[in-house]
Symmetry: C2
Subunit: 458 residues, 2 copies
Amino acid sequence: MSAQKPSVPSGFRDFGPEVMMKRKFIMRTIEDCFIQFGFQPIETPAIENLKTLTGKYGDEGDQLLYKILNNGDFLDKVPSDVYDKKDSKTLLPQIVDKGLRYDLTVPMARYVSMNRSHITFPFKRYQMQTVWRADRPQKGRYREFWQCDADIVGSTSTFSDIELLDLYNQAFYKLGLPVIIRFNNRQVFDAILTPLAPNEAMRFMQLIDKYDKIGDKVNELLSLEVNAQAVQIWENLLAANKESGNEAKLAKLQSLFPSISLELAAEIEQNFKLSQASKGNTIDLDFTLARGLSYYTGIIYEVLPQPSALPTGFGIGSIGGGGRYDKLTEMFGFDGGQGVGISFGLDRIYDVMEAADLLNLKAQSSQNILICIMDEVNMPKGYALCQSLINQGVSAQLYPQAAKLRKQLDYANAQNIKYAAIIGQTEMENGTATVKNLITGDQQEMAVSLIAKHINPA
Amino acid sequence: MSAQKPSVPSGFRDFGPEVMMKRKFIMRTIEDCFIQFGFQPIETPAIENLKTLTGKYGDEGDQLLYKILNNGDFLDKVPSDVYDKKDSKTLLPQIVDKGLRYDLTVPMARYVSMNRSHITFPFKRYQMQTVWRADRPQKGRYREFWQCDADIVGSTSTFSDIELLDLYNQAFYKLGLPVIIRFNNRQVFDAILTPLAPNEAMRFMQLIDKYDKIGDKVNELLSLEVNAQAVQIWENLLAANKESGNEAKLAKLQSLFPSISLELAAEIEQNFKLSQASKGNTIDLDFTLARGLSYYTGIIYEVLPQPSALPTGFGIGSIGGGGRYDKLTEMFGFDGGQGVGISFGLDRIYDVMEAADLLNLKAQSSQNILICIMDEVNMPKGYALCQSLINQGVSAQLYPQAAKLRKQLDYANAQNIKYAAIIGQTEMENGTATVKNLITGDQQEMAVSLIAKHINPA
């Protein structure tokens, strides 16, 4: 076969060792937090029945689904009159019945619905898997990316809402990335938008959802496309939001909107009173947070990096989000799926932490050693030393040839290996190795039996 | 939208929490060994250009590739004369240009070829990702499964071959699954099959590759389909293989086949002299091991569970395999891709360890606690206690309602949670909790400040 010039499809990525070690640091940190908070892992297949996926993400989402061609003679059973139309939309359901996972929420709802009789609720599940969207590739938007979701299904408790605020806080604290955890409650909109007709309320939500992007243009568009009352509601909302501190914001909201019930206000107050922001993080009540037109019914969350942690001019998008939903599993015939969930955007968290130079030290292997043998005849003894170090719990490897020292040390540096044990003829005769710290350059000759303790003194 | 009866496509699986925790134990154990031996992670995309995949796995493999339908109006550019044939094979390349990963070896070869100018060789990479094959589903064969591969690319050293014997040994030792690590060298066949014509030699290899399944029928078929000389070679090979111990086997092979070079014999001897089997494992030279007609050119490996570790009658297939290859990256125009690699069959390892009851204890969470509040009014204090325990490093969760104690403890048991901290009105007034060990049933009242130390005395 003739040689191909290899490539990956547009919008897809290979991850080499350096990037992977950083990504794994992020994923293990998030996963450890999920586990510490009592969440348990599930995984669902990459390939779902197409009917499980379609109609769940809107028309645009349906367009972005990757569809798997039926295997074998896929045209065999297509009726001639259907085929002869030569129309993609008509032919599609005849030749495709499976698609790729588009998010982790719909598969989770399917899983919970299918397994409801075996599950003890509340069901605290986490799921970390790739999803695929046939989107136009651009900066920060990929066609294959990871989602890391934690949900508490079958709990209507406000303590579950608060737990996820604290989970966000803990995970970003452990990651070392200072964040703003914004939250709001959809019921605030229900209360303050009662003067508007349903279609006006929907337009109101659409517009303020763009507030991060279009800023003060919201007022103008509300005035043009909705009415003066909507503008007034929006200005009051902004006024409440301008107060300093969650407590003052909530008090102002209550004073400006008597339609906010005492019960709702008490719930919001408990959200920020019980949750705790670690050093560097803030947990901010933000009445302008809308989270689109999605299925959320109660608390909603969004996480942004603290601007002070980022290089000037680095574009800030959300790196996490979620909320409470009441009817997620109804599409699969199960009405017990009330719950609350959050998602971590792994790829964006990586991009942000890389830009803020927060990943370099953490991803490095903490202790490991390369055995460098200088004479081919001594390779078996070098190999035996390497296995002995491994048996002592050290991460060790033997350079597989008695190559020039320079070449062996170049390899060690390229792999971020911290130590080299150099064994030439003299050391071999003495039963020693020259152990060199490749970061400091310090080196000393020592008995091979002392190496493990030397490089791993704990 | 009307409710659907949800399902997953045939051959695909959901993994619930209990199974996932066991699978994660296996994967983390293998990954930790990869890292300890100095391998570094890479990941490649699920979706590859179809031309990267086709022609690499034989005709049967091409049939089993999952193909992604082109997005949008996929028929738009199909010429009418092509379309009008209504032939699946003719239409396929017009409407599909991408497919799903079928294994990790071809993507690795593509990655190495594409990135050869940035890679410091030898390149020790590991990769743990799912692959997809549109195979007929049956017991132990899935359409989506994990591969866990480690390769050393750009090394022709025999010490790299030996390292992978030891890596297999270490990984299964850490997993607690006793195994037989069989190995052989393809050059043995090159040496002993010289009397046969190339097509006879190929048929010889095909037949002995089935030896595990068809047993003594190999003799009969060699006699019928090849010739008497082939039968004689096979019988000599079996005779060498019957000797007790690797050393005796090799000596017998040399005496029966003078065509085995001293160099090859010395290399094989070094393989088993330098590698070390941990307690329970054996590393067995096995001259009947052929590993199909694949691209292997030197050492070949195969791992089987020790029959004594399995329940009687449990079918034993290989749970790992690999070998040395010389030309893997040539298909992508790079001739520096000589290397050696092994694979762990995660799904089969899981099946074997589950059948041998080796996963139960290991997958359990070692320490965690459920806070059980008996009165709704005390929930905020319970929540604060829970977060305080988390900040002390404990894996803690609050049952999100003041439900009946029985219900809360049922939840704890279903989640394999080890401790419950029960706080009723009395305990609340005393600043204490009744901490119950749910395994032993022991319980005692203690100050809440002592809980973390009590359940995690280290």
